[in-house]
Protein backbone atom coordinates (compact mmCIF):
# COMPACT_ATOMS: atom_id res chain seq x y z
CA UNK A 1 0.00 0.00 0.00
CA UNK A 2 2.76 2.37 0.91
CA UNK A 3 4.49 1.52 -2.30
CA UNK A 4 1.27 2.20 -4.17
CA UNK A 5 0.95 5.67 -2.72
CA UNK A 6 4.61 6.35 -3.36
CA UNK A 7 4.00 5.35 -6.94
CA UNK A 8 1.08 7.75 -7.16
CA UNK A 9 3.31 10.44 -5.72
CA UNK A 10 5.79 9.86 -8.51
CA UNK A 11 3.03 9.89 -11.11
CA UNK A 12 1.87 13.24 -9.75
CA UNK A 13 5.46 14.50 -9.90
CA UNK A 14 5.53 13.48 -13.57
CA UNK A 15 2.32 15.42 -14.16
CA UNK A 16 3.65 18.61 -12.56
CA UNK A 17 5.00 20.19 -15.76
CA UNK A 18 1.63 19.75 -17.49
CA UNK A 19 -0.27 20.95 -14.44
CA UNK A 20 1.96 24.01 -14.32
CA UNK A 21 1.37 24.68 -18.00
CA UNK A 22 -2.39 24.39 -17.60
CA UNK A 23 -2.26 26.66 -14.54
CA UNK A 24 -0.21 29.21 -16.48
CA UNK A 25 -2.81 29.29 -19.21
CA UNK A 26 -5.40 30.18 -16.56
CA UNK A 27 -3.43 32.48 -14.29
CA UNK A 28 -0.84 34.62 -16.00
CA UNK A 29 1.39 35.17 -13.00
CA UNK A 30 3.87 32.36 -12.53
CA UNK A 31 3.70 32.37 -8.73
CA UNK A 32 -0.08 32.48 -8.67
CA UNK A 33 -0.14 29.63 -11.15
CA UNK A 34 2.20 27.57 -8.98
CA UNK A 35 0.04 28.30 -5.94
CA UNK A 36 -2.86 26.90 -7.93
CA UNK A 37 -0.86 23.77 -8.79
CA UNK A 38 0.05 23.29 -5.14
CA UNK A 39 -3.58 23.62 -4.05
CA UNK A 40 -4.58 21.07 -6.68
CA UNK A 41 -1.94 18.57 -5.60
CA UNK A 42 -3.04 18.93 -1.98
CA UNK A 43 -6.69 18.49 -2.92
CA UNK A 44 -5.80 15.44 -4.96
CA UNK A 45 -4.14 13.79 -2.00
CA UNK A 46 -7.02 14.71 0.27
CA UNK A 47 -9.52 13.16 -2.12
CA UNK A 48 -7.46 10.35 -3.54
CA UNK A 49 -10.00 7.83 -2.31
CA UNK A 50 -12.40 9.29 -4.92
CA UNK A 51 -10.19 8.29 -7.81
CA UNK A 52 -11.73 5.18 -9.28
CA UNK A 53 -9.42 2.30 -10.14
CA UNK A 54 -8.49 2.57 -13.77
CA UNK A 55 -9.52 6.22 -13.99
CA UNK A 56 -7.13 8.59 -15.69
CA UNK A 57 -5.10 10.39 -13.04
CA UNK A 58 -4.28 13.29 -15.37
CA UNK A 59 -7.91 13.92 -16.34
CA UNK A 60 -8.92 13.71 -12.72
CA UNK A 61 -6.31 16.24 -11.63
CA UNK A 62 -7.10 18.63 -14.47
CA UNK A 63 -10.72 18.46 -13.33
CA UNK A 64 -9.64 19.33 -9.80
CA UNK A 65 -7.69 22.27 -11.16
CA UNK A 66 -10.70 23.44 -13.13
CA UNK A 67 -12.77 23.40 -9.96
CA UNK A 68 -10.07 24.97 -7.81
CA UNK A 69 -9.64 27.72 -10.35
CA UNK A 70 -13.34 28.47 -10.65
CA UNK A 71 -13.72 28.37 -6.88
CA UNK A 72 -10.86 30.62 -6.01
CA UNK A 73 -9.62 32.43 -9.06
CA UNK A 74 -9.53 35.73 -7.25
CA UNK A 75 -7.06 34.41 -4.73
CA UNK A 76 -4.93 32.86 -7.45
CA UNK A 77 -4.73 36.19 -9.24
CA UNK A 78 -3.73 38.30 -6.27
CA UNK A 79 -0.35 39.16 -7.66
CA UNK A 80 -1.90 40.84 -10.61
CA UNK A 81 -1.40 40.48 -14.28
CA UNK A 82 2.30 39.91 -14.68
CA UNK A 83 2.72 37.45 -17.50
CA UNK A 84 6.42 36.80 -17.47
CA UNK A 85 8.55 35.14 -14.84
CA UNK A 86 9.63 37.86 -12.47
CA UNK A 87 12.88 36.19 -11.57
CA UNK A 88 14.10 34.66 -14.76
CA UNK A 89 17.40 34.00 -13.00
CA UNK A 90 15.78 31.14 -11.17
CA UNK A 91 14.71 29.59 -14.44
CA UNK A 92 17.33 29.20 -17.12
CA UNK A 93 16.59 31.40 -20.10
CA UNK A 94 15.25 28.72 -22.38
CA UNK A 95 13.17 31.17 -24.38
CA UNK A 96 14.43 33.89 -26.63
CA UNK A 97 12.82 37.29 -26.36
CA UNK A 98 10.46 36.77 -29.26
CA UNK A 99 9.12 33.57 -27.75
CA UNK A 100 8.44 35.46 -24.55
CA UNK A 101 6.65 38.04 -26.62
CA UNK A 102 4.50 35.33 -28.16
CA UNK A 103 3.68 33.95 -24.75
CA UNK A 104 2.86 37.41 -23.56
CA UNK A 105 0.52 38.26 -26.41
CA UNK A 106 -1.19 34.87 -26.46
CA UNK A 107 -1.66 34.81 -22.72
CA UNK A 108 -2.87 38.40 -22.75
CA UNK A 109 -5.41 37.48 -25.40
CA UNK A 110 -6.46 34.41 -23.42
CA UNK A 111 -6.81 36.50 -20.29
CA UNK A 112 -9.53 38.52 -22.01
CA UNK A 113 -11.60 35.45 -22.84
CA UNK A 114 -14.65 34.53 -20.78
CA UNK A 115 -13.71 31.88 -18.23
CA UNK A 116 -15.59 29.03 -19.89
CA UNK A 117 -13.92 29.68 -23.25
CA UNK A 118 -10.48 29.99 -21.69
CA UNK A 119 -10.85 26.60 -20.00
CA UNK A 120 -11.91 24.96 -23.27
CA UNK A 121 -9.01 26.55 -25.17
CA UNK A 122 -6.50 25.63 -22.48
CA UNK A 123 -7.52 21.98 -22.37
CA UNK A 124 -7.74 21.39 -26.12
CA UNK A 125 -5.21 23.74 -27.69
CA UNK A 126 -2.64 23.92 -24.91
CA UNK A 127 -2.98 20.51 -23.26
CA UNK A 128 -3.99 18.55 -26.32
CA UNK A 129 -7.07 16.85 -24.84
CA UNK A 130 -9.58 15.44 -27.29
CA UNK A 131 -12.99 17.11 -27.34
CA UNK A 132 -14.43 14.14 -25.49
CA UNK A 133 -11.76 14.19 -22.80
CA UNK A 134 -12.01 17.95 -22.37
CA UNK A 135 -15.80 17.78 -22.07
CA UNK A 136 -15.39 15.15 -19.36
CA UNK A 137 -12.86 17.23 -17.46
CA UNK A 138 -15.16 20.26 -17.63
CA UNK A 139 -18.26 18.14 -16.99
CA UNK A 140 -20.23 19.66 -19.83
CA UNK A 141 -21.90 18.20 -22.94
CA UNK A 142 -19.52 17.86 -25.87
CA UNK A 143 -21.63 20.26 -27.96
CA UNK A 144 -21.16 22.93 -25.31
CA UNK A 145 -17.43 22.26 -25.36
CA UNK A 146 -17.13 22.67 -29.13
CA UNK A 147 -19.21 25.82 -29.06
CA UNK A 148 -17.03 27.39 -26.38
CA UNK A 149 -13.93 26.28 -28.21
CA UNK A 150 -15.11 27.82 -31.48
CA UNK A 151 -16.08 31.11 -29.88
CA UNK A 152 -12.83 31.24 -27.93
CA UNK A 153 -10.84 30.63 -31.09
CA UNK A 154 -12.63 33.35 -32.96
CA UNK A 155 -11.92 35.81 -30.15
CA UNK A 156 -8.27 34.76 -29.91
CA UNK A 157 -7.75 35.02 -33.64
CA UNK A 158 -9.21 38.51 -33.63
CA UNK A 159 -7.09 39.59 -30.65
CA UNK A 160 -3.93 38.23 -32.26
CA UNK A 161 -4.72 39.86 -35.58
CA UNK A 162 -5.29 36.57 -37.32
CA UNK A 163 -9.02 36.72 -37.79
CA UNK A 164 -10.85 36.09 -41.01
CA UNK A 165 -11.06 39.79 -41.62
CA UNK A 166 -7.35 40.17 -42.09
CA UNK A 167 -7.00 37.34 -44.54
CA UNK A 168 -10.16 37.77 -46.54
Amino acid sequence: MTNASEEIGERIVELLPRLRRFARSLSRNQHDADDLVQAVVERAWTHLAQLKPGANLASWMFGIMKNAWIDNRRSFKRRGEVALPEDSGEHPAVSPVDAHATLWSVSEAMDKLPEDQRLAIALVLVEGFSYKEAAEVLEIPIGTLTSRLARGRTALAAALGKGDGEVA
Binding site: R20, D71, E139, I140, G143, T144, R153, K162, D164
Partner: protein, 250 residues
Protein backbone atom coordinates in the same frame (compact mmCIF):
# COMPACT_ATOMS: atom_id res chain seq x y z
CA UNK B 1 -20.16 22.80 -50.33
CA UNK B 2 -20.20 25.22 -47.44
CA UNK B 3 -18.98 24.04 -44.04
CA UNK B 4 -19.62 25.85 -40.79
CA UNK B 5 -16.77 27.00 -38.66
CA UNK B 6 -17.22 24.40 -35.95
CA UNK B 7 -16.97 21.60 -38.50
CA UNK B 8 -13.80 23.05 -40.00
CA UNK B 9 -12.39 23.49 -36.53
CA UNK B 10 -13.14 19.87 -35.68
CA UNK B 11 -11.52 18.84 -38.96
CA UNK B 12 -8.40 20.84 -38.16
CA UNK B 13 -8.31 19.25 -34.71
CA UNK B 14 -8.63 15.74 -36.10
CA UNK B 15 -11.97 15.23 -34.39
CA UNK B 16 -14.18 14.19 -37.32
CA UNK B 17 -15.07 10.64 -38.19
CA UNK B 18 -13.47 9.12 -41.26
CA UNK B 19 -16.36 9.77 -43.66
CA UNK B 20 -16.68 13.46 -42.87
CA UNK B 21 -12.92 13.86 -42.73
CA UNK B 22 -12.58 12.45 -46.22
CA UNK B 23 -15.39 14.63 -47.55
CA UNK B 24 -13.79 17.80 -46.23
CA UNK B 25 -10.33 16.77 -47.40
CA UNK B 26 -11.77 16.41 -50.89
CA UNK B 27 -13.52 19.76 -50.69
CA UNK B 28 -10.35 21.47 -49.52
CA UNK B 29 -8.43 20.16 -52.49
CA UNK B 30 -10.60 22.16 -54.83
CA UNK B 31 -11.42 25.16 -52.67
CA UNK B 32 -8.51 27.40 -51.62
CA UNK B 33 -10.75 29.54 -49.39
CA UNK B 34 -11.80 26.47 -47.44
CA UNK B 35 -8.21 25.35 -47.20
CA UNK B 36 -7.24 28.75 -45.83
CA UNK B 37 -9.90 28.62 -43.11
CA UNK B 38 -8.69 25.20 -42.00
CA UNK B 39 -5.14 26.44 -42.06
CA UNK B 40 -6.10 29.38 -39.83
CA UNK B 41 -7.45 26.96 -37.25
CA UNK B 42 -4.27 24.91 -37.38
CA UNK B 43 -2.05 27.95 -37.19
CA UNK B 44 -3.88 29.36 -34.19
CA UNK B 45 -3.69 26.02 -32.42
CA UNK B 46 0.03 25.92 -33.14
CA UNK B 47 0.59 29.45 -31.86
CA UNK B 48 -1.29 28.86 -28.64
CA UNK B 49 0.38 25.51 -27.96
CA UNK B 50 3.79 26.99 -28.77
CA UNK B 51 3.28 29.96 -26.48
CA UNK B 52 2.76 27.76 -23.44
CA UNK B 53 5.18 25.00 -24.38
CA UNK B 54 8.00 26.96 -22.74
CA UNK B 55 6.52 26.20 -19.35
CA UNK B 56 7.36 22.54 -19.89
CA UNK B 57 11.06 23.44 -20.00
CA UNK B 58 11.09 25.33 -16.73
CA UNK B 59 12.41 23.65 -13.64
CA UNK B 60 9.59 22.68 -11.31
CA UNK B 61 9.74 24.46 -7.93
CA UNK B 62 10.76 22.09 -5.14
CA UNK B 63 7.72 22.98 -3.06
CA UNK B 64 5.50 21.44 -5.75
CA UNK B 65 7.57 18.28 -5.90
CA UNK B 66 7.33 18.04 -2.13
CA UNK B 67 3.58 18.53 -2.25
CA UNK B 68 3.25 15.90 -4.97
CA UNK B 69 5.10 13.39 -2.78
CA UNK B 70 3.68 14.66 0.48
CA UNK B 71 0.69 12.39 0.41
CA UNK B 72 2.79 9.26 0.45
CA UNK B 73 4.40 10.35 3.71
CA UNK B 74 0.98 10.75 5.25
CA UNK B 75 -0.14 7.44 3.89
CA UNK B 76 2.86 5.73 5.39
CA UNK B 77 2.16 7.30 8.75
CA UNK B 78 -1.38 6.01 8.60
CA UNK B 79 -0.34 2.48 7.79
CA UNK B 80 -0.63 3.01 4.08
CA UNK B 81 -4.36 2.83 4.11
CA UNK B 82 -5.78 6.26 4.77
CA UNK B 83 -4.89 8.67 2.03
CA UNK B 84 -6.79 11.72 3.20
CA UNK B 85 -5.55 13.99 5.94
CA UNK B 86 -7.11 12.89 9.23
CA UNK B 87 -6.91 16.39 10.65
CA UNK B 88 -9.23 17.63 7.95
CA UNK B 89 -12.03 15.22 8.62
CA UNK B 90 -13.88 17.70 10.80
CA UNK B 91 -14.08 20.30 8.09
CA UNK B 92 -16.90 21.19 5.81
CA UNK B 93 -17.31 18.74 2.93
CA UNK B 94 -14.08 19.09 1.06
CA UNK B 95 -13.08 22.29 -0.61
CA UNK B 96 -15.49 25.20 -1.15
CA UNK B 97 -16.59 24.18 -4.62
CA UNK B 98 -18.31 26.82 -6.71
CA UNK B 99 -20.83 25.72 -9.29
CA UNK B 100 -20.15 27.12 -12.68
CA UNK B 101 -21.13 23.78 -14.10
CA UNK B 102 -23.74 22.16 -11.95
CA UNK B 103 -22.33 18.71 -12.46
CA UNK B 104 -19.13 19.84 -10.85
CA UNK B 105 -21.12 20.76 -7.79
CA UNK B 106 -22.89 17.46 -7.65
CA UNK B 107 -19.53 15.81 -7.86
CA UNK B 108 -17.88 17.92 -5.25
CA UNK B 109 -20.75 17.53 -2.83
CA UNK B 110 -20.52 13.82 -3.24
CA UNK B 111 -16.79 13.98 -2.79
CA UNK B 112 -17.25 15.46 0.64
CA UNK B 113 -20.16 13.30 1.62
CA UNK B 114 -18.19 10.37 2.89
CA UNK B 115 -16.26 12.69 5.19
CA UNK B 116 -19.17 14.49 6.72
CA UNK B 117 -22.30 12.65 5.75
CA UNK B 118 -23.67 12.58 9.25
CA UNK B 119 -22.87 16.17 9.98
CA UNK B 120 -25.79 17.45 7.94
CA UNK B 121 -29.43 17.52 8.72
CA UNK B 122 -31.40 16.22 5.80
CA UNK B 123 -34.21 17.79 3.90
CA UNK B 124 -35.47 21.30 3.50
CA UNK B 125 -39.07 20.65 2.53
CA UNK B 126 -39.83 24.30 1.83
CA UNK B 127 -37.99 24.55 -1.47
CA UNK B 128 -40.28 22.49 -3.70
CA UNK B 129 -44.05 22.27 -3.57
CA UNK B 130 -46.52 20.27 -5.64
CA UNK B 131 -47.89 22.39 -8.46
CA UNK B 132 -50.64 21.58 -10.91
CA UNK B 133 -48.54 19.45 -13.24
CA UNK B 134 -45.22 19.09 -11.55
CA UNK B 135 -43.06 20.02 -8.63
CA UNK B 136 -42.59 23.76 -8.47
CA UNK B 137 -39.69 25.66 -6.94
CA UNK B 138 -40.49 27.57 -3.78
CA UNK B 139 -38.70 29.64 -1.16
CA UNK B 140 -34.94 30.01 -1.45
CA UNK B 141 -34.82 27.77 -4.50
CA UNK B 142 -37.35 29.91 -6.40
CA UNK B 143 -35.51 33.07 -5.39
CA UNK B 144 -32.17 31.67 -6.49
CA UNK B 145 -33.59 30.54 -9.83
CA UNK B 146 -35.11 34.00 -10.33
CA UNK B 147 -32.19 36.13 -9.28
CA UNK B 148 -28.92 34.25 -8.98
CA UNK B 149 -26.36 34.35 -11.79
CA UNK B 150 -23.93 31.47 -12.11
CA UNK B 151 -21.29 33.95 -13.17
CA UNK B 152 -21.57 35.88 -9.89
CA UNK B 153 -21.68 32.99 -7.43
CA UNK B 154 -19.20 32.70 -4.64
CA UNK B 155 -19.81 29.04 -3.97
CA UNK B 156 -21.22 29.56 -0.49
CA UNK B 157 -24.83 30.16 -1.48
CA UNK B 158 -27.40 27.62 -0.22
CA UNK B 159 -28.50 27.12 -3.82
CA UNK B 160 -25.96 26.93 -6.60
CA UNK B 161 -26.95 27.54 -10.19
CA UNK B 162 -25.21 25.55 -12.90
CA UNK B 163 -26.02 25.68 -16.58
CA UNK B 164 -28.74 27.95 -17.93
CA UNK B 165 -30.09 27.15 -21.36
CA UNK B 166 -33.07 27.51 -23.64
CA UNK B 167 -35.13 24.35 -24.12
CA UNK B 168 -36.65 23.21 -27.41
CA UNK B 169 -39.98 24.76 -26.39
CA UNK B 170 -38.33 28.17 -26.00
CA UNK B 171 -38.48 28.21 -22.20
CA UNK B 172 -35.44 28.70 -20.06
CA UNK B 173 -34.11 25.89 -17.91
CA UNK B 174 -31.52 26.09 -15.16
CA UNK B 175 -29.72 23.29 -13.37
CA UNK B 176 -29.16 23.73 -9.66
CA UNK B 177 -27.79 22.18 -6.50
CA UNK B 178 -29.33 22.45 -3.08
CA UNK B 179 -26.32 22.31 -0.85
CA UNK B 180 -28.07 21.39 2.38
CA UNK B 181 -29.67 18.26 0.97
CA UNK B 182 -27.15 17.53 -1.78
CA UNK B 183 -29.92 17.54 -4.33
CA UNK B 184 -29.10 18.20 -7.96
CA UNK B 185 -31.97 19.15 -10.22
CA UNK B 186 -33.28 20.83 -13.30
CA UNK B 187 -35.83 23.64 -13.24
CA UNK B 188 -37.66 24.94 -16.32
CA UNK B 189 -39.62 28.15 -16.54
CA UNK B 190 -43.34 27.74 -17.10
CA UNK B 191 -45.26 30.99 -16.95
CA UNK B 192 -44.32 32.62 -13.69
CA UNK B 193 -42.98 29.56 -11.94
CA UNK B 194 -40.09 27.14 -12.14
CA UNK B 195 -41.17 23.57 -12.69
CA UNK B 196 -38.81 20.81 -11.59
CA UNK B 197 -38.89 17.92 -14.04
CA UNK B 198 -36.16 16.01 -12.28
CA UNK B 199 -33.95 15.90 -9.24
CA UNK B 200 -31.22 13.52 -8.31
CA UNK B 201 -30.06 13.07 -4.78
CA UNK B 202 -26.53 12.02 -4.20
CA UNK B 203 -26.80 8.72 -2.38
CA UNK B 204 -23.51 8.25 -0.67
CA UNK B 205 -22.12 4.98 0.52
CA UNK B 206 -18.60 5.24 1.79
CA UNK B 207 -17.27 2.28 -0.11
CA UNK B 208 -18.70 3.31 -3.42
CA UNK B 209 -17.99 6.93 -4.07
CA UNK B 210 -18.16 7.62 -7.75
CA UNK B 211 -15.81 9.86 -9.60
CA UNK B 212 -16.94 13.32 -10.54
CA UNK B 213 -18.10 12.79 -14.10
CA UNK B 214 -20.41 9.91 -13.29
CA UNK B 215 -22.37 11.57 -10.52
CA UNK B 216 -25.66 12.50 -12.08
CA UNK B 217 -25.85 11.11 -15.59
CA UNK B 218 -29.64 11.14 -15.49
CA UNK B 219 -29.74 14.90 -15.13
CA UNK B 220 -27.00 15.39 -17.67
CA UNK B 221 -28.94 13.30 -20.18
CA UNK B 222 -32.05 15.34 -19.48
CA UNK B 223 -30.12 18.55 -20.12
CA UNK B 224 -28.75 17.21 -23.37
CA UNK B 225 -32.23 16.07 -24.42
CA UNK B 226 -33.85 19.42 -23.72
CA UNK B 227 -31.17 21.90 -24.68
CA UNK B 228 -31.74 23.94 -27.81
CA UNK B 229 -28.40 25.20 -29.12
CA UNK B 230 -25.89 25.93 -26.41
CA UNK B 231 -25.84 26.87 -22.76
CA UNK B 232 -26.09 30.59 -22.12
CA UNK B 233 -22.90 32.46 -21.45
CA UNK B 234 -22.64 35.05 -18.67
CA UNK B 235 -24.02 37.93 -20.77
CA UNK B 236 -26.89 35.88 -22.12
CA UNK B 237 -27.72 34.67 -18.64
CA UNK B 238 -27.85 38.27 -17.42
CA UNK B 239 -30.10 39.29 -20.31
CA UNK B 240 -32.46 36.39 -19.73
CA UNK B 241 -32.71 37.33 -16.07
CA UNK B 242 -33.43 40.96 -16.92
CA UNK B 243 -36.17 39.78 -19.28
CA UNK B 244 -37.75 37.92 -16.38
CA UNK B 245 -36.94 34.52 -17.91
CA UNK B 246 -39.73 35.08 -20.40
CA UNK B 247 -39.65 33.36 -23.76
CA UNK B 248 -38.11 35.57 -26.41
CA UNK B 249 -40.52 36.12 -29.27
CA UNK B 250 -38.96 36.84 -32.62
Amino acid sequence: MNYDDETLMAYADGELDEARRAAIAAAIASDPALARRVEQHRALRGDVAEAFSKVMDESVPQRLVNAARGGSTLASAAGGKVLRFPTRSGRAPGPPWRAREWVAMAASLLLGVFISWRAFTPSDPGVMVAGKDALVAHGILARALDHQLASAQRGEEPVLIGLTFKAHDGNYCRSFILRATRTAGLACRMGDEWQIPATDTASPSPGDVQQASSVAPAILRLIEARMEGQALDADEEQSAKLAGWKQQRP
